[in-house]
Point group: C2
Chain length 473, copies 2
C-alpha cells in the first residue's frame, strides 16, 4: 500500500502576492507591533517540522481581539493569507507560509481573563500556555490536565486538538474546550458555546473550530474545563522484559476500566537516551510510566490493581514517586524524551509519527512497527500515550541525507497504513498540517474530505486562513 | 427582555410541492417499504412537542444505508425535503414537516453491527434504541450510559446531542459518539471518525453531525463508547426542606469533584405526582435522587462524602437502593415523571424547558424561576439533571386555552433570558428544533448563527435536509 509519493517530500509552495500597500497599512495600523525584520519573519516561518519554506512577509503581534480582527480584515481586503502563531511548537508544518502571507502572533495575548473556581472553568487569551493556566489556577486547588509535553499555547492546542499524557483519563482539547471567541475570515468576531457544561444549541461550532488548524478562524479566547487537584497523586515506573508485555499490561488496565490518569510507554532505547540527557538512573528496560489520581483509598486501589496485572506480564521493579519533586523529575524526563533523542545524534532531526488505534489493536500495530523500524537501521525513539492507543516513533535522520528522510517517511507510511487497516487514525494529537494531507485522504475518504473542503470554501471564500493545510485547495 | 413574539406560537409552515412522480418513484423503488397511508403519515408528522402541522407526504421505511441513500437521491432530484425519523420522542418539533416532504423512518435499521468489548465500543444502526444497545452489550459486562429517559433511538440521540441522567459523570452524545456513517444531501455515503479513541485528523465532522438535528445529513450508523459495568452501584434518595438546600448540596458535591454518576432533583410537587402514578411511597418533599458507581470502596467513599454535605444543608432520610430491582423501580419512577405529570391534569400537554447554566448559577436560576412559576398559577413539574446545571420545568397547559399556552411560553422566555444572562444555554439536551430558534439567535448571536447557516447552505444547497429547523432559511 503506497500512501504517498515519496518523490515529493517537500510541501507544495505557491506564494501569493503580498502587496506593499498591505504591508504599509499593517505598519500604519500596528506600528511597532508589526515587523518585517527577516529574523522575526524567519522565527515565525518555522516550527518543529522538517520542512523548509520561505517565511511570511510580515508578523503582526496582536495584543487583543481587535488587533486580530483588524489584521484579518486588512488581509481579507487584499486576499492575502494569515497564519496564526502561538508558541511555534507544531510538529506538522502548521505555521509554514506555503502560500505566503502574514503571521499573526498571539503570544502577547497572554492574559487569564477569568477563573470561575466554583464552576471549574477558566477563560484565557490564546497566547496563555498550558503551564500559564496551571500557574494561575493552582491556588484555587484546580488544574488543567491537557499536557502535550511542550509548553504550547492554549490557542494552538485548541487549533490542533492537542492532548498528551493525561488524555487517557481527562480527554483531549475536544472534550475540554467549553467555548471560544473566534475571528472569522471576514474579520468578524463570533462566540461559540457558553460556560454551561453541556448544550444542544445548534451546530457544535466549538468542536468545528477545535482541530481546524487555523483554517476556519483565528481563536482569540478560550474557555476551558478545570479539575480539582486530586487529593492524592502517585506516580510509578514499572519495567518489562518486552514491549509486548508492557502493552498487554496497558490493554488489560484499560479494559478493566481502571481510571488511570497517565499511562506512558518508553522503550528501553529511549530510556537510555533519557538517562543520558536527564541523569535519571532509570532501569534501562522497556518501561511504563504511570500516574494515579484520586482519594488516597482510590489511588491505592488503582495502584494495587495495576501491580497485579503487571506482575502477570512479568512487570517488575515498581518504583514509586509520591512527592511532587520526584514526580516532576519523572515527567520532565518524559517530556524531554524528544530533546534527549535529538541530542543522541548530533545534527539530526526527528520525523515523528502519531498513529492511534483501538486499544485491542495496539500490540499488533506497535510490535510490527518496532520490527520494521529495527530492520531499517534508522535510530529512533519510541514513546506512547499507550492508554489511548496512541504512540510516537521519532525517526532520527540526518537532514542532509535524502535517503534517510525517504526511509523514515517510508516507515511512517507503513505505520499509517497499518494503523488505518486496524481502524485507527493517522494522527492522534499532532494534527494534519502539511505532513499528513495524503494520509487524511486515505483515512477519511474523498467524500468526507470534500465535505471539509466545502465547509472551508463556504466560511473562507478567498482561502486566506492558513491555506494549504489539512487538504489541498 | 422579550425574546420572542408570543403572537406567533405556531411554527411557520410553507409547504413545498411533492410531485406525484417522486411518490411514484419512491413506491416503485421501495414497494411496501413506502407508505402514503394517512395514519402512517400522521404518526410520522407528530412528536412530543405542542405543534400541529400537516404530516409528510410519504414515509419510507429504510432497512439499510442504501435505502436511505436512494431515498435522499430521489428527494434531491425533486428538491423535496427529507426528515429522518427514529423513535419519535423529540420534544422540540424536530420531526415536523413544516416544509412538507417525506419522512425517512430508520426504526427498522435496528441491528447491532459489532460489539468490540476489548475496545469498549459498539457500532449500531440508527434505529437501535438506548435500551437495545444495553441489552446487546450487557452480557459482555458493559453498558452505554446515555439515558434521556425515553427509549430514544441512537440516531435521534446523536442528531439532538442528547444526554440525560448519567451525563454528569459520563458526558453526553457529544463525548460518546466515536464515529458515524452519514448520507449527505446529495445521497452520498460518508464516514466520519474511526474507532480510535482520539484523533486530530481534520475537521471534527462527527461532532458537527452530532446535534445537527438531521439538517446536515441522515445518520445511518453510529459507533459509541461503552463502559465496564461498575463493580458496585448504589442509588439513594435524600429529602430536603427547601429546593435551595437540595441545590446547594449538589453544587458542593460537584465542586468537590465527587464522581457521582447521577444527581437528579425532583421537587415535592413532582414527587407527589410520581407517587400517585407509580405507587412509590416516596417522602413528598424536595428530593435528590443519586447514583454512585465504582468499586465497593469508592462507592462507599462517595456516598459518605455526599451524606456529609447533605447533612450540612438539612438533608435527611437518606434511603438506599442497592438491589437492581429497587434501583430500577426508582429510576423508572424518575423517567415516568413526565407521564405522571401529564396524567395529573387530564387532557393537558407539557411545555418543557431545558436551560442549563454553570453550576455556581444554578441556585439563582432555579429559585427565581420556581418563584415565577408558582406566581403564574400554572401547574408544573420540575425535574433536573442538576449535577450538570440542567433542569426542566414542564408547564402543564390545556391546549384548548391559548392564554395558558401564552403564559407558559412567557415563563419559558423569562427562564431562558435568565439562563442566558447567567452564561448558560437555552437547551442542555433537547435541541433547538422549531421551538428555540429565536432563543438560539439570542444565545449564539447573529454572527455564529450566520456561520451555521453558511455551513448548511454549502452542504445542502437545495435545503432538503430537515429544513426550517435550528434557524430560519
Amino acid at each position: 500500500m503506497s500512501l504517498r509519493n515519496l518523490a515529493h517530500l517537500q510541501p507544495e509552495v505557491v506564494l501569493r502576492a503580498v502587496p506593499q500597500s498591505l504591508i504599509d497599512a499593517l505598519e500604519f495600523r500596528f506600528a511597532a507591533q508589526c515587523s518585517t525584520a527577516m529574523a522575526v519573519r524567519e522565527q515565525h516561518g518555522r516550527d518543529e517540522s522538517v520542512y523548509d519554506v520561505p517565511p511570511p512577509a510580515a508578523v503582526v503581534f496582536a495584543q487583543n481581539t481587535q488587533d486580530v480582527a483588524d489584521a484579518v480584515q486588512l488581509a481579507a481586503l487584499y486576499k492575502v493569507p494569515v497564519i496564526p502563531f502561538g508558541a511555534g511548537s507544531s510538529l506538522e508544518g502548521h505555521l509554514l507560509a506555503v502560500q505566503g502571507g502574514i503571521s499573526i502572533d498571539v503570544s502577547r495575548m497572554d492574559q487569564v481573563l477569568s477563573i470561575n473556581a466554583e464552576d471549574l472553568t477558566v477563560t484565557v487569551q490564546p497566547g496563555v500556555t498550558r503551564m500559564g493556566v496551571n500557574n494561575a489556577v493552582k491556588s484555587e486547588g484546580l488544574f488543567f490536565p491537557i499536557d502535550p509535553g511542550a509548553d504550547a499555547s492554549i490557542g494552538g492546542m485548541a487549533a490542533t486538538r492537542a492532548s498528551g499524557t493525561n488524555a487517557v483519563r481527562y480527554g483531549t482539547m475536544r472534550e475540554n474546550v467549553l467555548a471560544l471567541e473566534v475571528v472569522t475570515a471576514s474579520g468578524e468576531v463570533i462566540r461559540t458555546g457558553t460556560r454551561a457544561k453541556k448544550s444542544s444549541a445548534g451546530y457544535d461550532l466549538t468542536r468545528l473550530m477545535v482541530g481546524s488548524e487555523g483554517t476556519l478562524g483565528v481563536i482569540t479566547e478560550v474557555t476551558l474545563k478545570l479539575y480539582p487537584l486530586p487529593e492524592a497523586i502517585s506516580a510509578a515506573t514499572c519495567s518489562f522484559p518486552t514491549i509486548e508485555a508492557a502493552v498487554r499490561t496497558v490493554i488489560q488496565v484499560i479494559q478493566l476500566g481502571v481510571p488511570i490518569a497517565r499511562c506512558e510507554l518508553i522503550d528501553a532505547n529511549t530510556v537510555r537516551m533519557v538517562n543520558a540527557h536527564s541523569k535519571l538512573g532509570l532501569r534501562e528496560e522497556h518501561m511504563l510510566l504511570m500516574e494515579f489520581h484520586g482519594s488516597p483509598a482510590s489511588v491505592k486501589e488503582q495502584a494495587e490493581t495495576v501491580q497485579e496485572i503487571a506482575s502477570e506480564f512479568e512487570g517488575n521493579a515498581f518504583q514509586w514517586a509520591t512527592t511532587p519533586e520526584e514526580r516532576t523529575r519523572l515527567w520532565t524526563a518524559r517530556h524531554n524524551a524528544y530533546f534527549a533523542a535529538i541530542q543522541s545524534k548530533p545534527g539530526c532531526r526527528a520525523i515523528s509519527t502519531d498513529t492511534c488505534v483501538p486499544i485491542s489493536k495496539l500490540a499488533d500495530c506497535l510490535l510490527d512497527s518496532v520490527a520494521e523500524a529495527d530492520a531499517s537501521g534508522i535510530p529512533y525513539f519510541l514513546v506512547g500515550h499507550v492508554g489511548d492507543g496512541n504512540f510516537h516513533f521519532g525517526y532520527l535522520i540526518d537532514p542532509t541525507i535524502p535517503e534517510e528522510r525517504e526511509r523514515a517517511e517510508q516507515l511512517n507510511n507503513q505505520l499509517v497504513a497499518r494503523a488505518l487497516s486496524l481502524e485507527g487514525t493517522c494522527t492522534g494529537e499532532h494534527g494534519v498540517g502539511l505532513h499528513k494531507m495524503d494520509f487524511l485522504l486515505t483515512e477519511a475518504g474523498s467524500g468526507a474530505v470534500d465535505m471539509m473542503r466545502t465547509i472551508k470554501r463556504a466560511l473562507d471564500p478567498y482561502n486566506i486562513l492558513n491555506p494549504g493545510k489539512i487538504f489541498k485547495g
